[in-house]
């Protein structure tokens, strides 16, 4: 390396590290506040090292909201939705990618067109429909409308076209496999990387959803974690350290899910964006 290159590389790293610090800092700040008492937080100058009140703050969170109940609700909603999305989307994507049937192109273009419709366009009547169905305040109101995703079908179809060889399907057909057996025994194993990406993506999206659960979950004991957190903030706005302890607890599961799938996730995300 010449001196010029070394300087350039050092400058690049310094700039990038500065960006990383800005990306990470709010998490560190959250952690700091979660370990201190509220009066300590409001002291000037602000302390930049952790305190010793983390457990106490966490105990206060548990006393103020039904933390485990709302976490369980979030987990159920995100988990069931993810399984349904993966199943229905891969089934449809496989049919679109590898088979011919009358109306296929028109149906697929229609599916793509639904990308353009913003969710908030139909949010008011959706609430009315849920009220008619008697689903207001139930978990299925959060799960069912999102059980298949056009994005998921699109993504898996793109992937399936390359990943599933037609010869393999022909062989399965000759062995007497019907559509479902071909789907389950041939397509699903080959689609696994794309399914992993879609699964993480869907789970995180559902876990973080706020507007729809806020509208539909009307009783305090049925809240999802995000809505419960927001209530914690609304009622105990002055007890920042406790709010931050709750926030910390709510962020950890997501970070774990993300770190498990991070590399796969980032590679596929970039690839998906380019194809669009």
């Amino acid at each position: 390396m010449t001196t010029g290159e070394r300087v350039k590389s050092t400058v690049t790293h310094l700039l990038l590290i500065f960006g990383v610090l800005l990306s990470i800092f709010p998490f560190y700040w959250m952690f700091l506040m979660a370990t201190r008492t509220t009066p300590e937080i409001f002291r000037y100058p602000p302390a930049l090292v952790p305190g010793s009140h983390l457990l106490e703050n966490i105990r206060n969170v548990f006393a103020s909201i039904d933390f485990w109940g709302s976490t369980w609700n979030s987990f159920l909603v995100a988990g069931i939705t993810t399984v349904l999305v993966l199943f229905f989307s891969s089934l449809a994507a496989f049919a679109f990618a590898k088979f011919d049937f009358p109306g296929k192109n028109v149906l697929f273009i229609f599916l793509l067109a639904t990308f353009m419709v913003p969710g908030q366009l139909s949010i008011v009547p959706q609430f009315a429909i849920m009220a008619q169905l008697g689903w207001v305040g139930t978990l299925q109101a959060l799960i069912i409308p999102g059980a298949v995703s056009a994005f998921g079908i699109f993504l898996l179809r793109q992937y399936a076209e390359g990943a599933i060889s037609s010869e393999l399907l022909d062989a399965a057909r000759i062995d007497g496999c019907g559509f479902l057996r071909q789907y389950w025994n041939v397509a699903v194993p080959l689609l696994r990387p794309a399914l992993a990406f879609l699964g993480i993506f869907t789970f995180i999206g559902q876990w973080n959803d706020y507007l729809w659960p806020l509208i539909i979950m009307i009783n305090p004991e049925q809240l999802t974690l995000q809505v419960a957190l927001s209530q914690l903030f609304g009622v105990y706005a002055t007890d920042f350290s406790m709010v931050m302890a709750g926030t910390l607890l709510a962020v950890i599961p997501l970070l774990i899910v993300f770190f498990i799938g991070a590399r796969q996730f980032l590679a596929d995300l970039a690839a998906g964006a380019l194809k669009q």
Binding site: S89, A92, P125, D170, I204, A250, L255
Partner: protein, 322 residues
Amino acid sequence: MTTTPIAAPEKATPPPATPTKISRRRELLSLYLAISPFYILFAIFGVFPIVFSIYLSFQNWDGIGDMQFVGFAQYQFLLSDPQFWKVLLNTFQIWIISTIPMLAIALVVAFLLNQQIRAKGSYRIAYFIPNVTSIVAITLIFGSIFSNQFGLVNAFLEWIGVEPVQWLTEPWPIKIAVAAIVIWRWMGYNALIYLAGLQAIPNDLYDAARVDGASWVQVFFRITVPMLRPIILFTVITSTIGGLQLFTEPQLLLGNAGGPGSEGQTISLYLYQQAFTLNDFGYGAALSWAMFIVIILFSIINWRLVQGTGTRGLRIRRGARS
């Protein structure tokens, strides 16, 4: 598996083992069943609500009692509603002060990440973390960082000798605070999308520039930016759609009314307030249509702008090369 010897020669001829009409019909049935869940759910929770929301936007309805037909009076009211124009302007202002810096920084970060450096994978993960964390959590954290009296930002300003700012009560500071959350959350996401685009640019272009002795800045503006045009368009459109639907950040930071003087109330937040806290469902539906039209208009304008400047740039480059 005992059939393998018989099946093997058949493999050369494409038609399936039993090409009868019945088996084809059964296959078609399973294919249509396989794609049907999306269409059924979209019909119930997508198409029907959209049609219903057109109908609803011509009615006055509190969600419980009878609907009352008001026709275009609803839209006349909307167009003469000062609060509608106010929230439209707010949304637009927040969108501008978040999207432009966000995409500009993202482009620079992507450019840096595309250099020949070590630890690329770790950088990518670090830059993506803000995007996967809960918006609710993040807004609460930023709420404390921007807090008027004891917030970290004000502590910092005081430390460097600048007057503290009333972040959550003054018109522009409110918008800057909301925009800061948006930028923080989406910068890395856009940077990674740009990075993917950059990696598709052939290396010889950079090599040629290096041979010609081009500087960093020249490479960035003469090669990186023009080559990324379609991807920049993609990110501009997605951030327009996202930005015009902004809800969680202002709602949590400032409440349903969007803070003092409604300075932080966005269209989405106004829609939520009208429909779900004031039970004016008809007006909520009309607002959602207004929002839809604004999103479409903005997307077209953006598409025109980015596409337009892009082709001009391309022509100049072609001219320069010949």
